[in-house]
Symmetry: C2
Subunit: 341 residues, 2 copies
């Protein structure tokens, strides 16, 4: 089987050359263990921290030479555990490898592999709309952002897995959704998903596009990026605006301090002058309610989930790198490692 | 009479030489106007923005050559308005001058001069514990910080008017109050006011003092300063900590961007990693309830309010400058312009 190991810690944006593809024997499950065949890998931006030398050992840092970690969907092909049978499809953090042995009873705080119901939704959505990204979108819009009918909500990285769902939740709640994405095609795709307006941060007239999309300002800013995009959004926030913060991809490779000038004084000034409310959060604050609501909205046709696939585990390093350099996909970017049975 | 005019916009921290003292005739009140004799001036740090060239005209910017603005307590010495009589003591934004003519019916959004009851509390407290600083402390601790019994609350600029009251409100609510101030004498004064611990940010072992004062971390950080002090506090905040932000004196003279490196990436990282909740606010969010509670706590002896005085309006420029360079007073720094009747 093939697996992808970390070759060297990333500096700045990860590159494909930070990884290497290896061939190794398929492992065999021992007592209480199961063998998974990987179907899909999710290239979550937060995995950037697992390939950073400055991340604390033991948290989720991968050492060079070790297999890359990350969430995946896989099929049970052999089981020595009473709760899992061959043919079951599960979501697990089984990493970048074609096969993986797991011990469900020795799982970390994330819990044992989560069994999926293929009749309920495509199993790949467990890594997107019905997984971490969907949860994050729900928390940001519903719980932290407290969006209600009539609110204008601006969303950075709106073409991503979180942002594309977040905008559609805004619409379900009766708000106005404004997305920021890189490229005219992605912006058009956002409008197609139901966003009311979109602004292309790669365009020379981005500032004008944003101003035109937010003539009355914004009540909520779901921030997934930080950096230049956030600096452009802040002047458009209304007094008392809420700013749920679920990521900061502009700074993932930067560490605690970036090159000057220091933008923190201006950030403080905006928080004070506008009475902004900022809250950082990650993942599953509110349990399963969010996923149940999203599943219901998907069944009702009110939320569509976009997925983009690259083929084969060898493609993972390059695709992961593209998450940071900007790519043309809308929705969740997945690696299809093997066909579903 | 004497008045203090702005001589030149401040750059960086204000200096006494940015102002000049002038002698002019005492003005006479016209129809509907009152004449005030100034008793006390408050040297609020936020007045920094009134002497900044980059502040929008019309907001509260003072043009060079004009009399400096600011909150004051004064006595009515002549009145052509039915609601005010000679001998009344009021709080008003009458500026840095020994006498001032005001038209109560033409007041700005801050409202007409507020009549004070000298039997209720010393009138100078209208500029401190029973004025804007008291309100800010109350909002930060009670409303935004949502402090409850058992919470550990760390307070920057704890020797200031806001901070010294905020810490005492924490104690009333059953929390643990940790103050940060400049100088061992100020820290001792905080303990005397009832703070549980204090850390001297000017001491070489500030980091160790802070760590010793926060062995379990902090649930709430009332931030009034930003800059190096806040960078030192952030690592001690617990997951989900609240950070009410009522000022950022470290950056008042800086504008939107300071000299590098850029500390915003690290700020984002702390917000996300710890799920921090930050909210900027200023003054009177919650109406009079805060001042009534504080007045009650003062009557009950549960809150003491410290004031420090400098004498004579000529002393205002130097005293204002000392607010930014650091001074040795605890509590509200006031200029006593004239004796009370």
């Amino acid at each position: 089987m093939k697996q992808v190991a970390l070759a060297a810690y990333a500096r700045g944006n990860p590159r494909a050359s930070d990884f290497r593809v290896e061939e190794v024997p398929v492992p065999q499950p021992g007592r209480g263990e199961i063998l998974l065949r990987t179907l899909y890998l999710a290239l979550d931006p937060l995995l950037r921290f697992s390939v950073d030398e400055t991340t604390l050992t033991g948290a989720s840092r991968v050492e060079p030479g070790s297999v890359m970690v990350g969430p995946a969907v896989g099929e049970v092909v052999a089981s020595n555990h009473p709760d899992y049978a061959p043919g079951d499809v599960v979501e697990a953090r089984s990493g970048w490898q074609e096969y993986c042995v797991l011990a469900p009873d020795k799982s970390d705080y994330r819990g044992p592999p989560r069994k999926l119901d293929p009749a309920r939704a495509p199993v790949s959505t467990a890594l997107g709309a019905l997984g971490g990204p969907g949860q994050t979108a729900y928390e940001g819009i519903v719980r932290v952002g407290r969006v209600t009918a009539g609110d204008t909500v601006v969303i950075s990285a709106a073409g991503g897995a979180v942002g594309s769902i977040a905008g559609q939740i805004v619409k379900v709640l009766g708000g106005r959704a404004v997305g920021i994405a890189g490229g005219a095609a992605k912006c058009a795709a956002l409008l197609d998903l139901g966003f009311d307006a979109a602004a292309n941060y790669k365009a020379p007239d981005f500032a004008a596009q944003l101003a035109a999309a937010l003539p009355q300002g914004a009540d909520v800013y779901l921030d997934n990026v930080g950096g230049d995009v956030t600096m452009a959004v802040l002047p458009h926030l209304k007094r008392g605006a809420r700013m749920p913060m679920c990521g900061f991809i502009a700074y993932y490779g930067v560490g605690m301090e970036g090159p000057g000038p220091d933008r923190l004084p201006g950030f403080y000034r905006q928080i004070m002058n506008k009475g902004l409310e900022i809250k950082g959060f990650a993942g599953m604050l509110g349990g399963q309610k969010g996923l149940e609501d999203i599943a219901g909205w998907m069944r009702a046709g009110r939320i569509r989930f976009a997925e983009a696939f690259v083929e084969g585990i060898e493609a993972a390093p390059e695709a992961f790198s593209s998450v940071f350099s900007g790519h043309d996909h809308v929705g969740k970017l997945l690696v299809r490692v093997a066909p579903e049975a």
